[in-house]
Point group: C2
Chain length 180, copies 2
């Protein structure tokens, strides 16, 4: 059986995805678990701690990606590695990714998070140094597209592996990395 703590996070995640963080009350989380608010407060001292506990593992998983990428020898190999890893991450989390990316409450917490700098690192690994406006737009569209496509309900019929393959192919084409 999952721990009470895990059940809170699971219920919270579903509700955050559906209603956003601000649109989700502790009462709603408790109701979905079939317990009272007080039981939820026994696991987490504040609502903010619940949000942090939901996003933490994803943000922490970004650090090893940047570290591994930095060890590759060529810029092309680094780009390719980051892209592969980000596609994996987005598909692994699918519904969650959109919440993490767009919820205003989450955004504010992410901005203050220790892992925040890693995100800029990953973007820079993709753009290369001193990128042109064209390249910056390309990377922004891929980043946004990956997150959106992962969350897109009309694609929920596609199995993870199929989605991964297509997302990677489309991203490579968008970034003009087809032949590298």
């Amino acid at each position: 059986m999952r721990t009470a703590r895990e059940r809170v996070l699971s219920a919270a995640l579903e509700l955050f995805a559906e209603h956003g963080v601000s649109g989700t009350s502790l009462q709603m989380i408790a109701d979905r678990m079939g317990v009272t608010k007080a039981a939820v407060y026994h696991q987490f001292p504040t609502k903010e701690e619940i949000v942090l506990a939901v996003i933490d593992p994803v943000l922490l998983s970004l650090t090893p990606i940047a570290a591994s990428a930095a060890r590759r020898r060529t810029p092309a190999a680094r780009r390719r590695y980051v892209l592969d890893a980000v596609v994996d991450l987005v598909v692994e989390h699918r519904r969650l990714s959109a919440v993490l990316s767009f919820d205003p409450v989450v955004s504010r917490l992410v901005r203050q998070h220790p892992s925040m700098t890693v995100i800029s690192e990953l973007v820079e690994l993709l753009t290369g140094p001193d990128p042109s406006p064209a390249t910056r737009v390309d990377v922004a569209m891929v980043a946004g597209g990956l997150v959106m496509a992962g969350a897109e309900s009309s694609l929920s019929d596609l199995p993870d592996e199929t989605l991964k393959t297509h997302l990677l192919k489309t991203s490579l084409r968008t970034l003009r990395l087809n032949r590298s």
Copy 2:
């Protein structure tokens, strides 16, 4: 001078973009306008009416796009027309587009909106009939990428025309419409 009604919508839009709809109270809107809540209620009977008044013009502007596109003769011309128009729309609204697209409250209202079917029409104009998984992923990534890139703060230094040009070029490449 702008009407009180317009000032409400302008204040609401900024706050929705920053905090989301659920994270924005009527008190915050009133404070930003320098009036009291009751003054806001004099313009709109409910908070939901404010949200609707914010999104209505954008949704209504989708209908003529689909209509004009349908009059083009070839599928390629229709795709190209939709893409041009959507890029224009996204750039025209930039920050707003992300709120409109991802806020859970807005999404629920959009789903019930008369213009809702137009969105599926536009997607179908882009995918063509009976699209493959690959094509569906392509279109989902472009749609998400356009909205995200429009809202991306790191691209806010790019002037509208520059952004438009790059978004269109990148979208065409992603959709493999380079040579059509």
